[in-house]
């Protein structure tokens, strides 16, 4: 079909509202962030000068303070991403299948239960889990003590601190993944399963040969959004472990925000944020290529 000038114009009108919002709330701040990252910008300082790529070079120069906090934080964040993303996908899908298998009358109820924590603010989440995890006075350890297990250092020792942070993250955010998976599962045509049953397929075969291939695009979406969300981990370690024990759970975003608002050096903080964003973008592209490539072969 040939596009005329008028039709192009009308389609432009349709995307205009989104474009405006996108430019004001996302594009402009990003570009401004780039601008700031090229200056030695300090909050409260009257003048600032163009320093070119110096802030970026600092990040990649071993021995500088920025280099140290950036890569130490990045390594901690990367560990969290590695641990959490697979679980966010697997548990999300498992919950979705579980809820879907429930009788229709109580399905909505459980869907709400599992989704509820997602609506809580970070501080409420933290208050609840600090009480759950407390080594010497918490709920979990009181329960475990009845089974003869005592003194698990949930937030003060590794690997427990990691386990606690991931448990909290699952509890807090899994509802979103679950809802998306439920929608995807409902999209799979019922006849596929019926046909497979007639052919004598068991539950495992139905899951691997029908369910998984059918929800592959949604799986990719969940994988990418979960990765991005996990990279942006901040509230859980900031409020629960305070980066401890030592600084083993001090994630990159804690360091970026300290740099911006404690040290007031917004220029280098913006550079850190932008390098971090680039890393996330590259990883998302790689995930996309890998996953869609596999689909092409099938």
């Amino acid at each position: 079909m040939k596009t005329t000038l008028t039709s192009r114009f009308t389609s432009f009108l349709f995307i205009l509202p989104y474009l405006a919002a996108f430019s004001i709330f996302l594009l402009f701040p990003i570009l401004y962030g780039v601008y700031i990252s090229l200056h030695n910008f300090e909050l409260l300082s009257k003048d600032y000068e163009f320093v070119g790529l110096a802030n970026y070079i600092n990040i990649f120069t071993p021995g500088t303070y920025i280099n140290d906090i950036f890569f130490r934080g990045l390594w901690v964040t990367a560990q969290f991403v590695l641990f959490s993303v697979p679980l966010l996908i697997i548990v999300g899908l498992a919950l979705a299948m579980l809820v879907n298998a429930l009788p229709a009358r109580i399905r909505g109820l459980f869907r709400t239960f599992y989704f509820l924590p997602y609506a809580l603010s970070a501080s409420v989440m933290a208050v609840i889990w600090l009480m759950m995890f407390d080594t010497n006075a918490g709920f979990l350890n009181s329960m475990l003590a009845k089974l003869g297990i005592t003194g698990i250092p949930w937030l003060t020792d590794t690997p427990w601190a990691w386990i606690s942070l991931i448990l909290t993250t699952l509890w807090w955010t899994i509802g979103f993944n679950m809802i998306i998976f439920i929608n995807a599962l409902n999209e799979v045509p019922e006849d596929y399963y019926e046909a497979a049953s007639i052919d004598g397929a068991n539950a495992w075969h139905k899951f691997t040969k029908i369910t998984l291939p059918s929800i592959r695009p949604v799986m990719l979406f969940i994988m990418i959004t979960s990765t991005i969300a996990s990279f942006n981990i901040y509230a859980q370690p900031f409020l629960l472990t305070r980066g401890g024990p030592g600084d083993t759970t001090k994630v990159l975003l804690i360091n970026v925000l300290d740099q911006a608002f404690l040290r007031k050096e917004v220029g280098s903080a913006s550079a850190m944020a932008i390098v971090m964003a680039l890393i996330i973008i590259i990883i998302s592209i790689v995930q996309f290529k890998l996953t869609s490539g596999r689909k092409g072969e099938a």
């Binding site: 709330f25 996302l26 701040p29 990003i30 401004y32 962030g33 601008y35 700031i36 910008f41 909050l43 409260l44 300082s45 009257k46 003048d47 600032y48 500088t64 303070y65 920025i66 140290d68 997602y118 600090l130 009480m131 407390d134 080594t135 010497n136 006075a137 918490g138 003194g151 250092p153 937030l155 003060t156 020792d157 979103f176 959004t225 991005i228 969300a229 942006n232 901040y234 629960l240 472990t241 305070r242 980066g243 401890g244 024990p245 030592g246 001090k250 975003l253 970026v256 925000l257 300290d258 911006a260 608002f261 404690l262 040290r263 917004v266 903080a269 913006s270 944020a273 971090m276 964003a277």
Partner: protein, 428 residues
């Protein structure tokens, strides 16, 4: 759409957005834009309006509001508009407001240890003239706070209160252990916590915090032991004096006086449950303990160190941004601060010990047992080292101290590591 997206854009928005606002103005802010001050104080018959910022978003807010309301009712020349910003966000909000000059406060509360940083960034004006004009006498305030906020001979902050670390103890547990008086030195303290510890009932003498409020406890102990955090040119918290105090703290975990693996607020949870006999914390905890119905006492922190009595403290003070130049405005601010210096009993009611000497010596204040006990430490209170960006310079201490107190690192090694990181932060 998704939480992921939201968080992602939040990151960019917070860092870039806040900086954006800051940038938009720091370039263009000229004296010409500062005229709104005059607009607010339109002359004939109308009241001069003064925008007053505070971080009192906790239970202390209503007490300050009461003072402002009473002042506004007491005269008809000036009107204070009292604004409470969220405590955790206060300095972020302030930085943005000061940078943009829009809705920027005319008078604000500032913690005394922030004064050197903001003064060096040329954000505050010396208040010597303002105080003299209003009849406020510098000698009427606790010296620790006025000395600290006097930089190069200029006075920047009129102190409201001083809040040192104090010792809270559970009176019921003390009675049960047969201890008559609160300990005042290391021997008495070590002895008391041994007696108070009752393993069978899960009661500990002193649960050692591994995170906050170590920001108050660690400096207190180091100073008491004759050490320094800052030796005038460099960070100094890996001295033998500091190491000895960290070993003393960790020793209580090893001997069972404290439980191991105390998490954030863990010692306070135990204290509220009546399972931790003593804790060191700030005066602001008082109302929480009262609400919990605890039978508790308060006393100055004992002298644990070998050298001298000392205690780390914070302090709220009033400061005036440099941009406030209107004469009516400064006269109004002076008038209000003069009023506060003699009418701040409402603030003492919030649990704070006041920095104004006439108030401290008043019968009304002396009748307040808790606040008087807090104020008894004023002669030897010390604030954070008067060093630009001390908050970031000292930041590595807390992670390494956490390591040492959790038993993951030797005390000397942990403090050496903290010093190395701080030195790197100083170099940038």
């Amino acid at each position: 759409m998704s939480k992921a997206r939201n968080k992602f854009s939040m990151l960019l928005l917070t860092v870039t957005g806040a900086a954006l606002i800051a940038a938009g103005c720091s370039g263009g802010t000229s004296d010409g834009e500062k005229t709104p001050d005059e607009g607010k104080s339109s002359g004939s018959g109308k009241k001069t309006e003064i925008l007053f910022w505070s971080p009192f978003s906790g239970s202390d807010g209503p007490f300050m509001k009461k003072i402002v309301d009473k002042y506004n009712g007491s005269q008809d020349q000036y009107k204070l508009n009292f604004v409470i910003q969220p405590n955790g966000e206060y300095y972020k909000q302030l930085d943005v407001a000061l940078s943009t000059g829009k809705e920027s406060p005319d008078l604000m509360i500032m913690h005394v240890d922030q004064v050197p940083t903001y003064a060096s960034k040329d954000q505050l004006q010396p208040i010597d003239d303002l105080a003299a004009g209003a009849g406020i006498n510098k000698a009427d305030f606790a010296e620790a706070a006025t000395d600290y906020s006097t930089l190069d001979g200029k006075w920047y902050s009129i102190p409201l209160d001083i809040h040192p670390l104090v010792m809270y103890y559970n009176k019921d547990l003390f009675e049960k252990a047969g201890i008559a008086a609160a300990p005042t030195n290391r021997t008495e303290f070590d002895d008391a916590v041994q007696k108070l510890t009752d393993k069978g009932n899960g009661v500990y003498g002193y649960a050692v915090p591994t995170l906050w409020p170590q920001q108050f406890i660690f400096p207190t102990l180091v100073w008491q032991n004759g050490g320094e955090l800052w030796n005038g040119t460099d960070v100094a918290y890996n001295s033998p004096e500091a190491v000895e105090m960290v070993q003393w703290l960790r020793g209580m975990v090893d001997s069972g006086v404290s439980p191991a693996n105390v998490q954030q607020d863990g010692e306070n949870t135990l204290f509220l449950q009546g399972k931790n006999a003593i804790q060191f914390n700030g005066p602001w905890m008082k109302s929480q303990f009262e609400e919990a119905g605890l039978n508790f006492g308060v006393a100055p922190v004992p002298q644990i160190g070998k050298a001298k009595q000392a205690v780390f403290a914070g302090s709220h003070g009033f400061v005036v941004p440099k941009s406030v130049t209107d004469e009516k405005m400064t006269a109004g601010i002076g008038d209000f601060l003069k009023y506060v210096s003699t009418n701040s009993m409402d603030w003492a009611e919030s649990g704070q010990a006041l920095a104004s000497k006439p108030m401290l010596e008043s019968d009304a204040f002396k009748a307040l047992e808790f606040q008087s006990s807090v104020a008894s430490a004023f002669p030897y209170v010390q604030f954070a080292p008067n060093v630009l960006n001390w908050g970031t310079v000292s930041e590595p201490i807390w992670g390494e101290l956490n390591n040492a107190l959790l038993g993951k690192k030797d005390a000397q090694k942990a403090l050496d590591d903290a010093v190395a990181k701080s030195q790197q932060a100083l170099k940038k």
